[in-house]
């Protein structure tokens, strides 16, 4: 029962204090989410993960010192239960694919409605990957437009 009352502990990583505050204001309306820390760049995000071991980091891509892609890769290799969810204005497929390959458990665009952020956080905590619908479409387009590789490995038609 105690588990049900446990809040989801979140760290917000974004280089703008006011952006972090905006996200914090949004998350503080959700009773089961608690913002336990903030980071202004990738290095600070890693330090906060080491120190606080949050359930989730909301990670911006473009940050000084170390960007969100590098920080995501580092955190994903750490021996911590922390998941990374990217929140960005960038919808370029190469960036999305790169950060998902580095271990991000979701990619949410900032033009999403605010409520989607809490949906994405809950999905990440269920070990699911949450993508903004336009990101899913972009990735699907990429897959469908990629050249075929000669069928499914291991299958032979008699």
């Amino acid at each position: 029962m105690a588990n049900r009352e446990k809040k989801i502990r979140v760290v917000i990583a974004d280089d703008h204090r006011l952006v972090r505050q905006g996200i914090r204001a949004l998350l503080e309306r959700t009773p089961d989410i608690e913002v336990v820390g903030e980071a202004s760049d990738g290095l600070e995000a890693i330090a906060k993960v080491e120190e606080l071991q949050p359930d989730l980091v909301i990670m911006d891509i473009s940050m000084p010192q170390m960007d969100g892609i590098q920080a995501t890769e580092y955190i994903s290799k750490m021996d911590v239960p922390t998941r990374v969810m990217v929140l960005s204005m960038y919808s370029k497929p190469s960036i999305v694919q790169q950060v998902l390959r580095k271990g991000a458990k979701g990619y949410l665009l900032k033009n999403s409605i605010s409520e989607e952020l809490t949906l994405a956080i809950h999905a990440a905590l269920r070990n699911e990957i949450y993508l903004s619908p336009s990101i899913s479409s972009l990735l699907l387009d990429n897959i469908l437009n990629a050249p075929e590789e000669g069928g499914i490995a291991g299958l032979r038609i008699a």
């Binding site: 914090r24 204001a25 204005m89 033009n111 999403s112």
Partner: protein, 64 residues
């Protein structure tokens, strides 16, 4: 309300101009004005001061 609109709202609450918000968020000033107009429409107000009042009333911004 979108996440970007909330970010713009947080900057407006701190007294930033459209130009300053645009520079900080790396978006155009036109986009900032579009977000401000959308925010005012969603909160049924006509100016930034009333927008701020509604934002505080509905707990939409973080205050230090």
């Amino acid at each position: 309300m979108t996440i970007t609109e909330r970010e713009v709202l947080q900057f407006i609450a701190q007294g930033f101009s459209s130009n300053e918000i645009a520079q900080n968020l790396k978006i155009s000033e036109e986009s900032v004005d579009k977000y401000s107009t959308s925010l005012m429409s969603k909160l049924h107000v006509q100016d930034r001061l009333s927008l701020l009042r509604e934002a505080i009333k509905h707990n939409l911004i973080f205050v230090d």
